[in-house]
């Protein structure tokens, strides 16, 4: 699967020598590779049948709208569908609080552009989503990483770091968090933790960027309220996306927040791609209008819950006892941690070569370059059988590494 290979490459090759990349490429083409690398949804989760009907309808009824240039803010029908959905959850928003982007990756780029000057500081988790780090990096941000416990970034340390940064004359531009099923670590913030972080943001007058692609993919436990809702003053900008609950090939995401911020994002977007394809936006809007979204999400949750269960059981069975891993209540990933001396970066090629299974080395997610003893494992993309078999292979490989060391 070419797509997934590309993702393995893109997240792993930072800092790799050309020769190592060439070698990696060679092994990635081995038949039978099981990949826990990507952040890919399962293709079985795509609503192909529903889409066929909707595409036919949109092309029949509104082709001129769908194929013409659209506004930079996005399709009003889609914006109001999204607003209505949030309203049903008790969040007070209108269409004017929401704009559409070419998925959340673009939102991350545009928010970074709107706020970051070279040398500005940003607060992020240790670890956090690689794509966000790379978007912030491209504007020259100076990332301050905050260690995390089971509930997310540790507030005392966050406050401390903010104070230090302010004392250096650099008030952080925003606090970037992924509160639900964090990528890569998998934890979810409790309501208490959310409120503590909002509190800090208010005290120091700093924006919060809440990136929430996995929120709806909850397999157990109670849903938490968004930081956006808890804050209630629009000091939080929330990013949403259809990538994990509809299909990522349609690049559609949204930004919800204060109109002053949205204005700037829109101006930035004009200069980047003018508008997100109106055609796919309208399809997404009709899809929501017909009530397909929520039943589909339940289906996806059922599928992923079971895949995750298989992986967790297989890890229990096959991993060396020196390893621990997170047990998230949702999302697509879990993160495994080995003994301090293990270097998952250095081991990746051997792991693929010998056992034909791939993971993402943890260092990519740590802005301080640490985390070399961690790895991220995706459980949504491969089949249940492959999840089990892949863990068996991974366990075999790691046990050998550990045995050789001692």
């Amino acid at each position: 699967m070419i797509n997934d290979l590309q993702e393995i490459l893109s997240v792993n090759i930072r800092g790799m020598k050309r020769s190592a990349i060439r070698e990696l490429l060679k092994y990635l083409n081995q038949p039978g590779l099981i990949s826990f690398s990507g952040g890919f949804p399962a293709p079985q989760s795509f609503p192909v049948e529903e889409l066929k009907g909707i595409i036919a309808e949109v092309m029949e009824n509104e082709p001129y709208y769908a194929l013409q240039y659209g506004t930079t803010e996005g399709d009003n029908l889609l914006r109001s569908q999204l607003a209505d959905r949030y309203k049903k959850l008790g969040i007070d928003v209108t269409m004017d609080n929401i704009i559409i982007t070419t998925a959340s990756q673009q939102a991350l780029d545009l928010i970074a552009k709107s706020f970051i000057d070279r040398g500005d500081t940003i607060i992020v988790g240790l670890p956090t989503y690689l794509g966000a780090l790379s978007a912030f990096n491209s504007y020259g941000a100076d990332m301050i990483g905050i260690p995390m416990d089971d509930e997310g970034e540790i507030p005392e340390i966050m406050e401390d770091e903010i104070k230090k940064s302010i004392n250096r004359g650099k008030k952080p531009k925003f606090i970037y968090v992924i509160p639900d099923f964090q990528n890569p670590a998998g934890m979810t913030m409790s309501e208490k933790r959310r409120k503590e972080i909002i509190d800090i943001a208010h005290r120091y007058d700093i924006l919060i960027l809440e990136d929430s692609p996995y929120r709806e993919l909850r397999y157990e436990g109670e849903s938490q309220r968004t930081l956006y809702e808890l804050d209630g003053t629009q000091q939080v900008v929330l990013l949403g996306t259809f990538s994990k609950i509809f299909c990522p090939g349609f690049r559609i995401g949204w930004v919800m927040g204060h109109p002053d911020v949205l204005d700037k994002v829109v101006i930035g977007k004009q200069a980047t791609d003018l508008c997100t394809p109106p055609f796919t936006q309208r399809i997404a809007a009709r899809y929501m209008e017909k009530g397909y979204l929520d039943p589909k999400i339940s289906e996806i949750c059922k599928m992923y819950k079971s895949k995750q269960k298989v992986m967790l059981e297989a890890l229990d069975e096959f991993m060396p006892e020196e390893f621990t891993w997170t047990k998230p209540q949702g999302g697509l990933f879990l993160m495994a941690t080995g003994p301090e001396w293990i270097d998952t970066d250095a081991l990746l090629i051997d792991c693929i070569k010998e056992q034909n299974v791939a993971y993402v080395a943890g260092t990519s997610f740590f802005c301080d370059g640490k985390g070399q003893n961690t790895m991220r494992l995706n459980f949504s993309y491969e089949s249940e059988e492959n999840n089990r078999e892949g863990c068996r292979r991974l366990g075999t490989f790691l046990k050998k590494v550990i045995a050789n060391k001692s």
Binding site: I2, N3, Q6, E7, S10, G38, G39, F40, P43, Q44, F46, V48, L51, K52, I55, A56, M59, E60, P63, Y64, Y65, L67, Q68, Y69, G70, T102, A103, Q105, Q106, D109, S114, F115, I116, D117, D120, G131, S134, A135, S138, D205, L207, C247, P248, G249, R251, D260, K264, V266, I267, G268, Q270, A271, T272, D273, L274, T276, P277, P278, F279, T280
Partner: protein
Amino acid sequence: MHYSDSFSRITQVMKSSLIRELVASTKNIPDLISFAGGFPSPATFPYQQLASLFEEVVKNEGSDVLQYGASEGDILLKEQLMKWEGYELKPEEMVITVGATNAIYYYTRCLINPGDVILCEAPSFLGTLVTFDALEADCQSIAMDEEGIIMDELKDKVRTLRQQGKNIKFLYIIPDFHNPAGITYSLKRRKDIIQYCIDNEIPILEDNPYSRLRFYGESVPTFYRVAKTEFHPTDIVTEVVSFSKILGPGLRIAYAKGDKELIEKMVSWQQKVTITPDCVAERVVARFLEKGLMEAHLKNICEYYRPYLQKMLDELEKHMPSSVHWTKPEGGIFLWLTLPENINADELFIEASKHKVSFIPGSKFYPEGQERFNTLRLNFTYSTFEQIEKGVCSLAELLKAKL
């Protein structure tokens, strides 16, 4: 919280596109005849063909195209594009993007540091100038005649700027049925520019959304093709081709081709900014080309637009005072009018909207401080014959009254 304190420096000064605001200002005028737009006519969208392709693609290749795709673009689309282009081209010399705007943005982000110079035409496409501006480039415009930018002006400009120690990064050119100027570069001018740019190490960004919309006459090979086939080194030109004006802008599909190393950098930007273009739309365009639908479709569009161009030219001829001049393009979607020096098209715009006619004042198409005010752009593809007749007549009346 006051966001304005937190915005980045560039965000605080960034401006929205003036055309958006102009068009918005006339939005509520009933029965307005608008020559202002830059939209293709919906009548040219091959929507029935696209509809069945979309259904087919989702049905047969859903698990592939609904998934995250490759950041450099769909390989199947690239294969079709290579065939369509009809000359030697490798997949790694191309990147598919979310419209031409997106390709231009990545190209610019690869090359520009704040303060670097981009050479552009006077006038040039406003949307692109906005993109350049947002990346803090210093846009320097070069006057044009009927065959393109004037060589002597180009040379003078480069000499002066280099004497000032400026870093000239590239030349931005819209060679066919120019937006807004309506002209097409002659082959000789293309060659002269390429030679000059090779000698002076200035890369060329060629923006080509209209080249396939030729209603009359012989097509002229693109800068990219000329450089590739007749010059050394061949990699000075990066060409951007958009499907917005030939299939439908709503698809947001374009591609850039150029030097492999540069394309690779553009792909890295795409990976950071959108990860990938819309994968379904990419595959639909691929299948459209593969089924050989493009040539017949292009012929249809050209036949559809040709009478509108003719109509507008006829009406201008019939009504305009002799001191007004206009380009006579053989394709594209715009005409460019030059008025006597003492007439300001910005003012004319306001008067005209009271008479229910609209256009874009030419001043909007120049970098700030380099404007010419006695010019305006007319679009002929978004109005009916009656509207063209009536609209041109009212404009002419207004102008006559001023002279």
